[in-house]
């Protein structure tokens, strides 16, 4: 049973991403030069008449993502840094994932939680989740992301509402990264105090999507793609997009489609904060090998290009990436990051009791990450939110 296409699915159908990706592959140095000059002019506020505020289009993004632009990476990074500073200042928001369950009824070939994998499963009780949250608050966090596999029985709407209500008094900002929900459930979660929802599309390539999402709720491409429309309509105010680099053969096509999605959401749901992330495939219990390897230079290039395309987007970077890369990207484009993450349910209080989703690379503690930011000239922002529902409510 596939869902009907949502609003963005219809817009995406008209965009011809493969043609843009081809243009990216074939872009020449003159085109790169022209787009960089235009981006620099927009940064100075010196946009030509008719330039619509100097915003770059998808065609420009394709050029910035091109192999030809990899050779101009330093300039690209400098422009991105100036843009990030102007919009976000010298401040980086910190958050922690709180894995509440690794139970899953979906079969996604790249994931360590996939149904059928013989791994130790665990779903925290609401009390256990609150205890984990308290540990994270003690480490400084005020923004938490509740993460789970897709299991409608073990991780039900009621279950999540209960956890959000329990955490609300002492956690400033609560987001979820779970299965997608109906508008009723999003509305209940918002009423309980939910601020954000993260639903990575993983890949916007329908064919590839069908190959890796073998069974389960997540197999429905269109339902997943439309989930932000449902969530934003129900009052979710922070939306998190992402593609899993290494999943589809053409990573540039996925970044382009995600950028188009982010721009669409920013336009259509103009009150929401849109964030983007580019996780790269990591070793996990699935043993899934990446289809393509996105190199570090291209990875940095993609972040810088996204910053110039969408100057206002929050760009998020997880502990999947090694310390040196995280330290570098925070100076260029990244504005929010996790720290000291555990990807197994209950892993903060008692690590090693359940299967982790993937192994992290940056194992520094939250305090170490904060110290790194300070040394780099950035303020670690632990709290950037206020109560969304009355304490009594």
């Amino acid at each position: 049973m596939a869902s009907p296409p949502g609003l963005f699915a219809r817009e995406l159908a008209g965009l011809d991403i493969p043609a843009l990706a081809l243009a990216s592959a074939q872009a020449g140095p003159e085109q790169v030069d022209a787009v960089l000059r235009r981006a620099a002019a927009a940064g100075r506020g010196a946009t030509a008449r008719g330039d619509a505020g100097g915003r770059l289009g998808l065609e420009d993004l394709a050029v910035l993502l091109s192999p030809a632009a990899t050779g101009r990476l330093e300039e690209l990074a400098q422009l991105a840094q100036a843009t990030t500073l102007r919009r976000f200042g010298r401040a980086v928001r910190l958050f922690a994932p709180l894995y509440v369950s690794n139970a899953c009824l979906s079969s996604c070939t790249y994931c360590g939680f996939a149904k059928g994998l013989a791994v130790v499963r665990r779903t925290l009780t609401a009390e256990e989740a609150a205890a984990e949250a308290q540990l994270l608050v003690d480490r400084g966090f005020r923004h938490l992301l509740l993460v789970s596999g897709e299991h409608r029985v073990e991780v039900s709407a009621d279950y999540l509402v209960e956890i959000v209500e329990r955490l609300r008094p002492f956690v400033s900002s609560i987001s979820i990264e779970t299965q997608t929900w109906s508008d009723d459930t999003y509305a209940r979660l918002v009423a309980a105090g939910l601020e954000g929802a993260i639903h990575y599309q993983e890949t916007y390539d329908r064919e590839r999507y069908a190959q890796v999402h073998v069974a389960g709720w997540k197999r429905d491409y269109d339902r997943r793609l439309a989930s932000f429309e449902t969530a934003a309509g129900a009052g979710v105010r922070r939306l998190g997009l992402g593609v899993l680099l290494g999943l589809a053969p053409d990573w540039r096509a996925d970044v382009l489609a995600m950028a188009a999605h982010a721009a669409f959401l920013a336009r259509r749901f103009w009150r929401t904060e849109v964030s983007v992330a580019l996780p790269r495939i990591k070793p996990s219990a699935s043993g899934f090998p990446p289809t393509v390897v996105v190199g570090d230079a291209e990875f940095v290039q993609a972040h810088a290009a996204l910053r110039l395309f969408e100057p206002d987007a929050v760009i998020s970077l997880s502990t999947r990436e090694p310390a040196a890369l995280r330290d570098g990207l925070v100076r260029i484009a990244v504005t929010t990051m996790s720290a000291g993450s555990s990807t197994e349910p209950g892993g903060y209080g008692r690590p090693g009791t359940a299967q982790e989703q993937f192994s992290i690379s940056d194992e520094r503690s939250p305090a170490d990450i904060a110290a790194m930011l300070v040394a780099a000239g950035y303020e670690p922002v632990w709290k950037d939110a206020f109560p969304l529902v009355d304490a009594a409510g």
């Binding site: 929401t272 206002d312 000239g377 206020f386």
Partner: protein, 313 residues
């Protein structure tokens, strides 16, 4: 030299009405310099908001700084009396352990703001939390539902202003540069209006100049140009066209040397104010000249038939 004109030390910054602002002792005369005279002006020309007198006409924000310590140093260097803090960044559970409020210099007037609020109800809830937490009834009202421009929502801002005034707040609303909205906010009982110069953080300067001029002409409450002032010259321009004060954050915070930039803004704000009080000469058209004595001055000095009156005939 800059120390001389830093308008006030924080601890002597504010006083209650009816203050009779006096000349700071010995600031003029001794040197007779322009800077000392400017410093003297600060005492003679205070900035009044809702019955309280402030010496500095530069208000500063606390976001986007590299660290709380750099922020604190820049706040002190700015000589500002009023400092605005985003309530969503305030963490009472961390009070005394590095929360942003711990770094606001003593003696500065805290102006909590409601940034992040999407509508009037959220702004009011946030303002009440802020009042409970900080004990001040001052609030910088910000309703900025569009994260792209952070442009103020004029409708929700007016609604929130009415609700807040009714609830006893002293309301300083960040608003669109719109003369009618400014009048409506004044009628609603706001203590100031704070129209934007350009989008927050854009550093694009006084793009709303014509509208600000119209607001200044009609406003019965102080006009504080807020947002977008990217360089000290922008602050001076806003003051020259009659703004009562300016609020600056990003341009100081992301400068390579926030402390020096804070001083530069303090001087520019003062220079702009001096120019306003001096009566800036009107700029002429590109091909327009004006003689220093009237060309028709000879009329009336000649007697007889050429005179237009002709009553003697």
């Amino acid at each position: 030299m800059t120390q001389q004109v830093t308008p006030a030390r924080p601890q002597e910054a504010t006083r209650e009405e009816p203050a009779t602002p006096g000349r700071p002792g010995g600031a003029t005369g001794a040197t007779g310099s322009a800077l000392a005279a400017a410093a003297a002006l600060v005492g003679e020309d205070p900035f009044r908001v809702a019955g309280t007198t402030y010496l500095s006409r530069l208000l500063v924000g606390t976001g986007k700084f590299a660290s709380h310590q750099v922020m604190r140093d820049a706040l002190i260097a700015s000589g500002a009396d009023i400092v605005t803090v985003a309530l969503r960044r305030v963490d009472l559970s961390r009070a005394g352990e590095g929360d942003v409020l711990d770094f606001v210099p003593a003696g500065m007037t805290l102006l909590p703001n409601t940034s992040g609020a999407l509508d009037a109800a959220e702004a009011l809830r946030l303002a009440r939390l802020g009042r409970a937490a900080t004990g001040t009834g001052l609030v910088k009202l910000e309703v900025t539902p569009d994260p792209r421009t952070l442009a103020p929502d004029p409708i929700e801002t007016l609604r929130a202003a009415e609700l807040m005034v009714a609830d006893g707040f002293t309301v300083l609303p960040y608003c669109s540069a719109d003369p009618v909205l400014a009048r409506r906010l004044e009628e609603a009982g706001c203590a100031t209006v704070m129209p934007l110069g350009s989008w927050i953080g854009s550093n694009r300067g006084l793009r709303t100049r014509d509208a600000i001029e119209a607001i200044v002409e009609t406003a019965g409450i102080p006009v504080v140009v807020d947002a977008g002032l990217g360089a000290p010259s922008d602050a001076a321009e806003a003051m020259e066209i009659g703004a009562d004060a300016v609020l600056v954050n990003t341009a100081i915070a992301i400068s390579a040397d926030p402390v020096a930039m804070a001083r530069a803004f303090a001087l520019a704000t003062l220079a702009g104010r001096l120019a306003r009080l001096a009566g800036r000469a009107r700029a002429g058209g590109a091909t327009e000249a004006s003689a220093s004595s009237p060309l028709t001055g000879f009329l009336g000095s000649t007697s007889g038939s050429g005179a237009p009156s002709g009553g003697a005939v």
